[in-house]
């Protein structure tokens, strides 16, 4: 870039050609006031506060949209400029309502700041109030457009950052205002309530709606403390506003280098009021005569330790298990599994993140030789092509969806493989409307046909990438007609897909649609093949982006929360690995792999498992066949549940321990990129609740020879030393997973070939079932996370009243004589539920869509409990159902 020099306020500055005057001034410490400028948005020159005067020509220019030129000489604060600025602000203030005294924006208001800096107390103009309707029906955002100064940041953020397009300017001149389509209220528009506009609005025109309750908060938070969101796997950086000891507002963090920058989603922004719910656990409780009785910590911990040790002594270590937690911190997961392995000598350690797909992610990691662990979302803008498989990020991980949509707008082709017409489909260069659960055929076919050595002798290919022959031989897996028949895609579309992918290094986004499907174990392996064949391993802008649904499902696995893994993803089966850990922890360690979550339920049913410690999980709500899970856990001799809320599972526990939410303790989470984010407490835990790591530390002392760590820093030091993958774990701020096998230059080499092996498994017969004629797809809603344990305690979500209606295609609706809002009974071979229906254009005939999390997550009654890694598993994504009007 050509360097130029110019003079600003008499000071000679250098910058590259094309830089705006505003940026050039900023870079040299010269402050220019502005209202419509934002580092992430394209400058528009709307507010005209950034004007500067050209000394040579006398022209007045908006510096944000004026490129610097060689030998320019500008003044940023001449008398003429000052006068114009004051007039601009005076006019804005004359149009502004005089409600500063009660406006919640308070001192954060940029208009107020600019006016104060310019010394404008009175405008001395006739007031020209611009009355606009006051919109506050939805529980998330309050719109008072009489305060709008037309900076356009809300519209620009909506279009450029989150790419939803719910609002745009309507009319012109004095009547100009941001408006939704048909000027409908936000809840009847395409607004996703991400709240990005609220955080970015410089005045009080857009503000967050305080959740309903006895003490709705009024005013601005007293202080803002940084944290990391505890909902999905993106791990957005938050600035949490507090008043007293309560969190009252959440905004995106202003720190540089965060994954979410200025965006959030409706959960991260507005669902955190669950932290103040009345159902928070505040005291330990021991169940006596069927009733939970408040107890002191000492008593509770002593009881737990003695019961566990006594059961272990009587029935052996195979009778005790530890379950948790894809929501708790890295440090807590490390302590948890260490406690289980060292003091209870059991490998029955697992967490629900593994159950819901992380176990397959781990296999893909092994298949790639650990060379694919860091995938930065910001690199998606360098992708050559992005393939989205079985994912609906606009609901599961909204910030990922923003990245994908922005990439699509930049011109990067998006290929979306998805049975229903989701929002992401509208940004796709190609939409492959696949029959549910036939992705295996498609991916295998694509991988085989894109094999760079296609055309070589099959024997040769088979030599380097075993299984290829079997694939080719298995009745034409590479024939487009056959693939088309099975997947329901037409040959032309398949050909176009292959053309789009050929020769490009793909970025592949993989969601639960793949991981949790019936052939997940094969499909996920096939995805890795596709990546390797495309040469995408170790290339910036390519790779596999696994949409981790939970904030720390990756970290939990990394810290050894798995029945056959040590911390650092080291396999239990490896004797050398186990001996190393025996040395580190100075103890003998059991070598038999333990039970998975599904295995623990079965073991409890059979009476093999006698004692279970559940931390930060709610299996009675999140697992399939909830009644069966409840009965199994009720069979246990001793059940301890450590959680932050009163849940379905705490109801059947023998001892209940109150833990702390992420905002109430120190810790770190690892997000779906491999970013390890460390955070500190924002407020203290409620009542007598304690950070979970403290509870485990104190419990370990009572379980055996354990010197209490006493501080989180000590635990971190141990993790850094023993887990090389986590040597970049910070005490504050973010680090990254250290890839133990650096992946430079793996693409296109024989080494990559050696990682590919095809499995010729086929999607089994998809013929319709007379008794259960519909295919029900289960999926996420952006307003809730997972099973909804936390988000259904958010007062705002409760007020919003999401019914989670079952989606049915209009044709089927008409055929069954149904109308929107009718109640239906849906049954699978495992169980039944009742819900209202809603016609959904984007669904095919014979398909229904059932949202999770709502109604006590009752959709889980329709699915069978099985582990995804079992070849016979029917998966957790889809089931066959029948519908009847109630």
């Amino acid at each position: 870039m050509k360097q130029i020099s110019l003079s600003i306020d008499g000071k000679i500055v250098d910058c590259s050609a094309g830089t705006s005057l505003l940026k050039a001034a900023e870079a040299n410490g010269i402050k220019i006031p502005r209202l419509c400028d934002h580092p992430e948005l394209k400058p528009v020159g709307a507010c005209r506060l950034c004007i500067v005067e050209d000394q040579k020509t006398g022209r007045i220019m908006a510096s944000c949209v004026t490129p610097a030129a060689q030998d320019m000489a500008v003044l940023t604060d001449s008398d003429r400029i000052k006068n114009h600025r004051r007039n601009i602000v005076r006019l804005m203030m004359a149009e502004h309502p005089e409600s500063c005294l009660v406006c919640n924006k308070g001192n954060r208001c940029r208009l107020r700041q600019v006016a104060a800096e310019l010394g404008i107390g009175e405008t001395r103009l006739y007031a020209m109030p611009n009355a606009s309707p006051f919109e506050q029906a939805n529980p998330f955002i309050i719109r008072d457009l009489s305060k709008c100064i037309l900076c356009g940041k809300c519209i620009r953020a909506d279009h450029e950052l989150v790419v939803v397009g719910a609002i745009d300017y309507n009319h012109r001149g004095f009547k100009s205002r941001p408006a939704t389509v048909h000027e409908l209220p936000l809840e009847n528009s395409s607004c996703t309530f991400c709240g990005t506009c609220v955080s970015i609005c410089p005045t009080g025109a857009l503000s967050p709606h305080a959740p309903a309750g006895d003490r709705p908060f009024v005013g601005t938070p007293e202080r803002e403390i940084q944290s990391i969101c505890g909902f999905c796997g993106v791990g957005c950086a938050l600035a949490m506003g507090t008043a007293g000891d309560r969190i009252v507002e959440v905004n995106p963090s202003q720190l540089p280098g965060t994954v979410n920058k200025s965006t959030l989603c409706v959960r991260g922004h507005f669902a955190h009021d669950f932290l103040n719910a009345a159902e928070r656990l505040t005291h330990p409780a021991i169940v006596k005569d069927g009733q939970p009785v408040s107890a002191a910590w000492e008593e509770a911990l002593k009881l737990i330790a003695s019961r566990f040790l006594e059961i272990k002594k009587a029935e052996g270590p195979q009778s005790v298990a530890f379950w948790g937690s894809s929501k708790c911190t890295n440090e807590e997961n490390y302590l948890f599994q260490k406690m289980a392995r060292v003091f209870l000598e059991t490998n029955h350690v697992d967490n629900i993140g593994n159950f819901f797909g992380q176990s397959l992610v781990r296999r893909m990691d092994e298949q790639a030789g650990g060379k694919c662990r860091i995938n930065r979302l910001q690199d998606l803008d360098k992708a050559q092509v992005i393939l989205v498989l079985g994912a609906n990020p606009t609901h599961s991980t909204p910030v990922v969806a923003y990245y994908l949509k922005r990439a699509a707008r930049q011109g990067i082709p998006l290929v979306v493989v998805e049975p229903r017409e989701t929002e992401l489909v509208h940004y796709a260069a190609l939409w492959l409307r696949i029959k549910p659960q036939t992705d295996l055929e498609l991916i295998n076919g694509l991988a085989g046909l894109l094999h760079p050595k296609m055309g070589d002798a099959p024997a040769l290919i088979d030599q380097q990438t075993p299984g290829f022959n079997a694939l080719g031989a298995s009745s034409g897996s590479l024939e487009l007609e056959r693939i088309g028949r099975i997947t329901g895609l037409d040959v032309r579309t398949l050909e176009k897909t292959i053309e789009l992918l050929r020769g490009k290094k793909p970025a592949i986004v993989v969601g639960n649609g793949i991981l949790q499907q019936k052939y997940g174990i094969h499909s996920s392996a096939a995805v890795m093949n596709l990546l390797l064949i495309g040469g995408g391993l170790g290339v910036t802008g390519a790779g596999i982006y696994m949409l981790a649904g939970e904030n720390n499902q990756i970290g939990a696995m990394d810290m050894g929360s798995a029945p056959d893994l040590f911390p650092g993803r080291e396999p239990l089966a490896d004797d050398g690995v186990r001996r190393a850990w025996e040395q580190r922890w100075n103890t003998k360690l059991p070598s038999n792999p333990g039970f998975t979550v599904a295995g623990m339920i079965e073991a409890a049913e059979k009476g093999i498992l006698k004692a279970l410690y559940i931390m930060g999980e709610n299996p009675l709500r999140s697992l399939p066949q909830p009644q069966r899970v409840k009965e199994a856990l009720q069979k246990l001799d001793f059940l301890v549940v450590q959680d932050i809320l009163n849940t379905e599972t705490t109801q059947i526990a023998d001892v209940i321990l109150p833990g702390a939410a992420f905002s109430e303790k120190k810790g770190s989470f690892t997000n779906l990129e491999g970013r390890i984010q460390s955070f500190s407490e924002v407020v203290s835990p409620p009542g007598d609740a304690r950070p979970d790591w403290e509870i485990l530390d104190q419990l370990a002392v009572r379980l055996g020879k354990h010197n209490a760590y006493g501080s989180l820093e000590k635990i971190r030091t141990e993790i850094r030393e023993f887990v090389p993958m986590y040597k970049d774990l910070q005490d504050c701020g973010q680090g990254w997973i250290t890839e133990t096998h650096p992946s430079a230059g793996v693409a296109d080499t024989a080494a990559a070939d050696s990682l590919i092996s095809f499995s010729a498994a086929e999607s089994a017969d998809q013929s319709p079932d007379k008794d259960y004629p519909f295919e029900a797809l289960l999926g996420a809603l952006r307003f809730h996370l997972g099973s909804g344990t936390r988000s259904t305690h958010s007062q705002r979500m409760i007020s919003f009243g999401i019914k989670g209606e079952i989606g049915i295609s209009p044709e089927d609706g008409v055929a069954l004589g149904l109308q929107n809002g009718d109640r239906v009974a849906i049954a699978s071979k495992y169980g039944g539920i009742e819900r209202e229906i809603r016609m959904e254009e984007g669904l095919g005939r014979g398909q229904v869509y059932i949202p999770l999390a709502v109604n006590g997550n009752d959709a889980m009654n329709l699915i069978g409990l099985s582990d995804l890694t079992e070849p016979g598993s029917s998966g957790l994504k889809m089931c066959r159902v029948r519908l009847s009007k109630v």
Partner: protein
């Protein structure tokens, strides 16, 4: 009375002609406005989809320009000029007469969707002052009698058509 029904097949074919056009929004909207007299709000979504825009952006463009309307106008749009020359030549009484004759205020459309009364700042035919436009036809050197006979003519032409 209901506004005239929209022929959706015609609407669809107009939209299809401009599908995927890079700067096609305004020409497309102009065609719809020309064909139907207004842009039905229910057309916003199909137009947006065809041009790969947000519906809110389409609505933004429609509301920006006075030439586009989201509400149907009458069969005869009467635009009375209130520019300087016309004003001097008595346009105010012309306007008042028309308001009384049609029982419409400025900007309103009659219930039978026959007439819309509007005023404009200048028609550029000052030598014919006072002037008015009926759809695309200019009428100049107006006098109260002339105005009354004009309105009768347009009213009758409607009745003729319904015979």
């Amino acid at each position: 009375m209901e506004p005239p029904e929209i022929n959706w097949d015609k609407m669809q074919s107009i939209i299809d002609q401009h599908r995927g056009e890079k700067w096609g929004l305004i020409p497309l909207l102009q065609e719809i406005q020309e064909e139907f007299g207004y842009i039905p709000p229910t057309a916003i979504e199909p137009v947006a989809k065809a041009l790969n825009l947000f519906p809110s952006q389409v609505q933004g463009v429609i509301t920006f320009y006075a030439g586009f309307a989201l509400k149907p106008k009458g069969k005869y749009v009467l635009k009375v000029c209130r520019g300087t020359a016309c004003h001097v030549k008595g346009s105010r009484s012309i306007i008042r007469l028309m308001q009384k004759e049609l029982n419409l205020k400025e900007g309103e459309t009659s219930a039978d969707y026959q007439f819309t009364l509007e005023t404009v700042a200048c028609l550029g035919a000052c030598f014919l002052a006072p002037t008015m436009l009926v759809n695309r036809s200019y009428f100049g050197k107006l006098a109260p009698a002339r105005v009354t006979s004009l309105l009768d003519h347009y009213r009758k032409s409607k009745e003729d058509k319904t015979k």
